[in-house]
Symmetry: C2
């Protein structure tokens, strides 16, 4: 399957929601949302985005690829840090604009660029004046400074 | 806390990633991505979006509110079907552009408008020619026709 070779959206809503044809619904920027959970315990690790090429490469190789919106480039997750993601299962939702990846993380088993296992390491809590963030105690599993340099 | 009264983004990346101030990073359309999992077993139920008002209402009431991009309106999830979502925990990610809600679903305990428990009821699988969708066997827990009418 060559990159971006996904069929066009069906005209029929029933086909989109109940059919067997994978017709990912890319947004105006050409992206679908990817939700990534740990295959072992289901913990939410990250939320990212995929263009057609990233999605096709993920399907072909079994290793998660994304589209980096900040770098505006294809992103083989973990290529620098070693924490690559082997895809165990992939699902899509009713209107096919989101992808759920269940993955096994390699290396230090960290997913967040801060070195933590998950990007979701702060609880949103209500205090008197409004919402605050409270650390859930997650500690870095690798040193971002050592892995990514000073940037 | 009045709707949309969230502080502006910090200029400092360290404050965004390690700070205790909740500064949700809304996109150009004024939305953040919301990932919703079941508080009991962690299953991914849906992916949706929130504007400032939906996020503030969710925090204030403890009941999940979203922004419906298709209807272009505030959306108190489950108001029609009875399957409202009580928020047990809320987290945000490193760059604060995604929210993770852990919820208990009321009513029929269904989240998808197709009547199923989760919107993610089809596996993406590779066949000879490309990717296909395979039902995971999830059955509707309510009748969408009865609840939503014929639309």
């Amino acid at each position: 399957m060559a990159p971006n070779e996904f069929p066009p959206l069906p005209a029929d809503k029933a086909a989109l929601e109940e059919g067997a044809v994978f017709t990912p619904r890319f947004d105006a920027a050409g992206l679908v949302t990817a939700v990534v959970t740990d295959a072992e315990d289901g913990v939410l690790l990250m939320v990212a985005h995929m263009n057609g090429e990233a999605l096709a490469l993920t399907l072909e190789t079994g290793i998660a690829h994304y589209w980096s919106r900040s770098r505006n480039s294809l992103w083989k997750k973990g290529e620098t840090s070693g924490n690559m993601q082997r895809v165990v299962a992939m699902k899509t939702d009713c209107d096919q604009d989101a992808i759920w990846l269940s993955v096994v993380v390699g290396g230090d088993r960290a997913t967040c660029h801060t070195g933590r296992r998950s990007c979701f390491y702060r609880d949103v809590a209500l205090s008197g004046a409004g919402a605050i963030l409270v650390s859930d105690g997650s500690e870095p599993l690798f040193s971002p400074h050592d892995v990514y340099g000073k940037s």
